[in-house]
Symmetry: C2
Subunit: 344 residues, 2 copies
């Protein structure tokens, strides 16, 4: 382990004071009238010695650590977090920031400890990402102005970034209507406005958009099947149930891709085909969606953009003071092969 080269080492080797070396290396040499000769000497020596400023030290003085904390209630489940982190990471690093990662498993005590640990390390901002919660408050123990919620709605006014689930819900209906469908079955939630599992953002907002768009067209859901959880087996069961009613050639909105996957299995095991016997449209753009036969038409969660945008907001706020706001990012439609016209 080499001893680190400090500014003092550089200054000594260059025969100047630490002050001078500091000024030169922070490009304030001209401003403070350090001679060209000295400047070159300092720079050369710094390069030769491989000098790297000790960020910790700078942090201590400045109070800022060029670091952002990213706390999520889950990293592993659903690759959501993965891409979100990636978006956050890249944008942060591009601006000279590093990311601390933490995971709470939904445990509020753990969240408190993590926030604390990050504040102790002087993070400049905090991104709090949620997979499970619809509404939440900004965690205590940190300047609320330095927090951005990700995929969760703030209870009190605060900055937040979420996918525009509502718009995607509307667009799902519009896509089907445009193809000529009028009978739309819901898989995972509905038909009533409150028939939603748990308290996820996705559920209620998607359903709201769907119902509003149907209503605008003077329609109602042809049927709805609430599932407490949204796993393939739940989609399988719900689709079996729908198949048992004898319906064919109509449209299905699955509330996420995992449900849709279960629905595929039910359709295929019944000897039927997508999209001939059922048009299916869904949400998430799970990795799986592109692998199915036919590939699944679905609205993509803009994971990467969510993470990126959260960092942008955080960094922007350092400069400008603005009113906190909830920002909704569009969920782009991935048109693949699971939607066709209704059966004649």
């Amino acid at each position: 382990m080499h001893k680190r080269v400090t500014l003092a080492d550089v200054a000594n080797a260059a025969g100047v004071s630490r002050t001078t070396a500091s000024l030169v290396l922070s490009d304030r040499g001209d401003e403070l009238r350090i001679s060209e000769a000295s400047q070159q000497r300092v720079r050369r020596v710094a390069a030769e010695l491989g000098y790297r400023p000790n960020v910790i030290s700078t942090n201590l003085r400045s109070g800022s650590s060029q670091t952002i904390g990213f706390i999520s209630d889950t990293v592993a489940t659903s690759q959501l977090a993965g891409d979100m982190i990636k978006g956050a990471l890249e944008h942060a690093h591009r601006n000279g920031y590093m990311l601390f990662i933490g995971e709470t498993e939904g445990d509020l005590d753990e969240e408190r400890r993590l926030v604390q640990a990050m504040v102790d390390r002087q993070v400049d901002g905090l991104i709090v990402a949620s997979m499970f919660t619809l509404e939440r408050s900004v965690p205590a123990g940190i300047d609320p102005g330095a927090v951005v919620l990700l995929n969760a709605l703030p209870e009190a006014p605060a900055d937040a970034v979420i996918p525009d689930e509502y718009a995607a819900g509307r667009a799902a209906v519009e896509t089907l209507l445009a193809r000529g469908h009028t009978r739309v079955h819901l898989l995972g939630a509905g038909p009533g406005r409150t028939d939603v599992p748990g308290q996820t953002v996705a559920g209620s907002e998607r359903l709201g958009g769907i119902l509003d768009a149907l209503s605008d067209a003077g329609l109602e859901p042809a049927s709805g099947r609430l599932a407490r959880v949204w796993l393939p087996e739940d989609g399988f069961a719900a689709m079996r149930d729908l198949l048992d009613t004898g319906v064919r050639g109509e449209a299905v909105i699955a509330f996420n891709d995992r449900l849709a996957f279960g629905a595929y299995q039910a359709v295929q095991e019944a000897g039927l085909r997508i999209p001939d016997d059922f048009s299916i449209i869904s949400f998430d753009d799970h990795q799986l969606a592109g692998w199915l036969h036919p590939a699944l038409t679905t609205f993509a969660l803009p994971h990467y953009d969510l993470g990126r945008r959260a960092v942008e907001i955080l960094l922007a706020r350092a400069d400008t003071r603005r009113e906190p706001a909830v920002e909704r990012l569009p969920m782009p439609l991935r048109v693949r092969g699971s939607v066709a016209a209704p059966r004649a």
Copy 2:
């Protein structure tokens, strides 16, 4: 933004010197004979003011930052990284360490920049995780003794943690043989020892284990199909090819679950059934594996343990000096429904 409470604030409020306050709060009060009265006063004031030590400052003095860097070449693709990070995260946090995350996309320049940025922040150790590479060297710019490779073999002696792919390969064969299979088809690699895509750890080690175990039983692969990439469509194509040979009732080892998924599709679209017409065993335990009908029997990548173990090694080394070593973690078999006895 509240002004932070510093040790000096506590000392003032308690009417003692900073030294005294420091001693009390680091539990050296008895040792250094601070009166019980003063100790209680300091503690009470600290609690009242909500004093939290500034870790940055401690770091500057100690040279250690209670921080570990985690650099991976991909976070998003395959939830591998997700669970690895989770394992690392939890174990690190449990020991009072935080994790910096970085991602290189396989770009060596980016890797250099990230290592640099982390060293600048005085990380105590570095975990370098790889999804793409078989062999790699420890990155430059940091004490090689403070690095643990994850899912990559070191070129020169260094600490590394990898899944025991070779043993899993052997075990896959042994599982099939135990069920009575003697004809084993390989999907994704083989039949030759060098028929491996790219340079992933998984490919060559799994194949090695498979071929050795077959050889021990006096067997050879019944067939092998190399795929350059291991996506479902590649598994689909390879399985179609196998189906065209007319084989039925034999065993298939898919080199990962995505290939196996493609194989499922081919089998089902041919109107055949798993495990009646084909026994399939695979590797990874992708989330998908449990969703298939029948659920896929597969060897799980011990993501969580990999991450956790890497941190353990890193932290342990701070204490004991040992020879660097490559540690292989077992890939547990998830027995599900895709393996049956060969057709009579």
